[in-house]
Symmetry: C2
Subunit: 485 residues, 2 copies
């Protein structure tokens, strides 16, 4: 049947079409013309039928396969349309000449194996208690949101977020964080880093070149600022928060990112006079303050400190998210910005930038129903107990330890005697990893050299309660592996 | 009780604390110290207590309010921490001096009113049938995904997307679109514009300055490319798709964005020889092809044309989404990229860039269960019938109309006699709007002047079946309002 010049093993090639298992054998389902097209497509692609080869006349192939001629012409036509074959009037249908086989395909990396499921204990800060994620409550909120939404709502993602969620967030932030916020001031975004990136891009577009960041700070703040084209100016942090007076050393500086409620990673709560001084500097420099309010819902010794934004709403962009209260995997956050800055942020926002609409409506419903407040109250109790247990266990394992930064949030800093530095940090993190423990030395969060001694940032948000003692013992073992006492 | 110098109406100020309704009156719930702090915070913020004013000694105020002194010191302490008050040893607690009231707050724009719910018929292309959105099926998929996910999965958003979804998408694209795709080649993104933006940023970073785009094209392609810093080179489109030979006019050009399965907005299906020529050009120019496969699932006269990416996986980035199959409000899309380009895209991706994890797992489950295929089959039938009805209605209302670009997708082009041009387009769109119809002239999709005559791009994805006749009659009325025949 095949033309002599091509000398193809047509029988082998077409065999899968004849030996039909259930529904045509594995991977060979669907109507005959589609199966034939698929078989030929793969053969052309694999070069089993070479470029220029003529295909059997449709009548012959149809007889061979015991099908109607339409099946064959349909399959050929499909592959002509896709560019695998070419048909010329009065001539056989042939395989089109393609570029040579691309060299990259063989070198294509194999799929990565899933992350090793070892017995690791993870004290890297950043996660809330994932065992406490309200799976049922969130699924119900999505279900209710989808049931109640109008058809039009299901087809749109307003750039600033759904008006209902903006209103609910404004009410929540006024009530819980002392913010000065109306629905119109809220922009829904995909997390704090997303929000910082958006504001930094707006800063860059308005001609600003620099932003002050805390030293040490959350790496994603620096990344978002750099990604937007801003240079980061590091400003020291002590146990009373940002050292505001250092801002005056940079005359052109007109933006600063801070985490006043619970500095990351030192855990310092910004002192009242520093808060006032920061706003005075912002006023004198005509600067914008980015207030990263990432975990202030969790404060254990007293009520959470209200936000700076409530004191100076025209100077401060407040940024928050559900990453520490529900999960970072939801990608739901917000900013409250002065109107001119909100307008600049929205002007450059692409239509697809907002979170999925069902998720936005689910969060609005979850907050309005009181489920969010209940979730916070429940986990706050757990975190308070776990924090106390961890501090007690650390004190027992490492008698000289000084715990700082534990007033709020989901991490603390354990300070030890002896000189610190990047080398010590690298060694202790390595020793911990060998013991099955992930931890992050304070050094790692500095952009420049760290002035601190030996210190570890220990996140306990996702640490199982039963593993607190073990975690403290492993911290000791890691510390002793580097500097035996 | 108050000091003379401040002369404050303390009685009025503190009245809400005394006149307790249910749980302390509207907005005054919670323990006494918190209510007092809130009241004082608002009074300071509103300047009802001026800067510098001394607060009553805690003992006096406690006696006045009939509460313990602890309540007052706690409230004062909270406001000192927040920066509203300042306490100095041996002196009264005073209201801190703040920057003057920010001038921007009064000018803050009022919340925008919701979009007018007029009797508008909308023929702007872009939406699928939102009445057909599988509310129940999607909510169930989210519920199942949340039930089945591990704790660790609930806390992470891998930059390339969840491995399960990547595998499911690879299988789907191989099966339905003839793609050459393994899970490792798939990057989950938030829609096609997001994906184009990511690839364009990678192109820019690798030193490329230009990208060829179809003229006319989807505006978001140009926006995404420009946003990434690339210059757009317009290349003509005719009824056989992109005029590939024009690419040779730009010697340094090494990237092109095309929509071969159903060009937007003309609806042309790229001819087989053009497809082959495009790949030849890409090979000779060492160029990357961005294949926008936005609505190819809907093809009515024959099977969808397989993707270019399947023919040349090392040269083509395939981009798709659920925006036309489910809803753009979900923000779920994908790309299949050659390994080196996928690596470049991922290298610059921020951790928060991927869609919400529950949504990713829901889509994987929705596809694996067969619900996605069923949804496509069901809506394809509807669209086919609606397309036929719209073409018939247009032919009846506008006897000279020529319908093109209707082989696939959710829109068609209605061409009329007479000279076109931006002025005609503006007038007919304006006349349509006055009649309660939104429509988009083909002219509007050109970056430069349009060579076409009078032509309208009519999207019927979200047009109710019962309104097809009315829509066609309104199109005629709008056309006649501009150029009465």
């Amino acid at each position: 049947m095949p033309e002599k010049q091509t000398n193809l093993a047509w029988d082998t090639l077409l065999a899968p079409l004849r030996t039909r298992g259930a529904d045509g054998g594995p991977g060979m389902d669907g109507p005959m013309h589609r199966r034939l097209a698929r078989l030929l497509r793969e053969a052309v692609r694999d070069r089993r039928i070479p470029a220029g080869a003529a295909l059997p006349p449709s009548r012959l192939l149809a007889a061979e396969l015991g099908c109607s001629r339409w099946v064959v012409t349909e399959a050929y036509g499909q592959l002509v349309a896709e560019g695998y074959l070419e048909a010329r009037t009065g001539s056989a249908t042939r395989v089109r000449g393609f570029p040579p086989p691309p060299p990259l395909v063989p070198g294509r990396p194999a799929p990565r194996p899933p992350a090793a499921a070892g017995p690791l204990l993870d004290l890297i800060p950043g996660l809330p208690d994932l065992r406490a994620f309200p799976r049922r409550g969130w699924a119900d909120a999505v279900h209710r949101a989808l049931s109640a939404a109008s058809d039009a709502e299901l087809g749109s993602r307003p750039p600033a977020g759904h008006p209902r969620l903006r209103g609910v967030l404004a009410e929540y932030l006024r009530r819980v964080r002392g913010a000065e916020a109306a629905a119109a001031d809220v922009v829904v975004c995909r997390g704090i880093a997303d929000g910082i990136g958006l504001v930094c891009a707006a800063l860059r577009e308005s001609g600003r070149r620099q932003i002050a960041v805390e030293e040490p700070c959350w790496a994603q703040v620096r990344q978002a600022a750099n990604g937007a084209g801003l240079e980061c100016v590091p400003v020291s942090v002590d146990e009373r928060g940002l050292r505001v007076e250092e801002l005056y050393a940079y005359p052109g500086l007109r933006a600063v990112a801070v985490s006043p409620a619970h500095q990351f990673p030192t855990g310092a709560v910004m002192a009242p006079d520093r808060r006032a001084a920061l706003l005075r500097w912002a006023e004198s420099a005509d600067a914008l303050v980015l207030e990263d309010d990432y975990d202030a819902e969790f404060r254990y010794d007293r009520d959470p400190v209200g936000v700076l934004q409530g004191v100076a709403p025209a100077r401060v962009v407040l940024l928050g998210s559900v990453s520490k209260t529900l999960s970072p995997a939801l990608g739901l956050g917000w900013m409250v910005a002065p109107p001119d800055w909100a307008a600049r942020v929205l002007a450059r926002r692409t239509p697809a930038a907002a979170p999925a609409l069902p998720d936005q409506l689910a969060l609005a419903g979850f907050m309005q129903s009181g489920a969010y407040d209940r979730q916070l109250r429940a986990v706050r109790r757990h975190y308070r107990a776990r924090r106390a247990a961890l501090i007690a266990a650390l004190s027992q394992e490492l008698p000289g330890v000084r715990v700082t930064g534990a007033d709020a949030g989901l991490h603390l800093v354990a300070r030890l005697d002896g000189p610190g530095g990047a080398a010590w940090g690298t060694q202790v993190a390595g020793a911990a990893a060998r013991l099955g423990l992930r931890l992050s030395p304070l050094d790692f969060h500095y952009h420049g050299p760290s002035p601190d001694g030996r210190a570890l940032v220990l996140g306990y948000g996702n640490l199982p309660d039963h593993a607190v003692g073990q975690a403290a013992a492993l911290v000791r073992a890691a510390v002793e592996a580097v500097a035996p006492s």
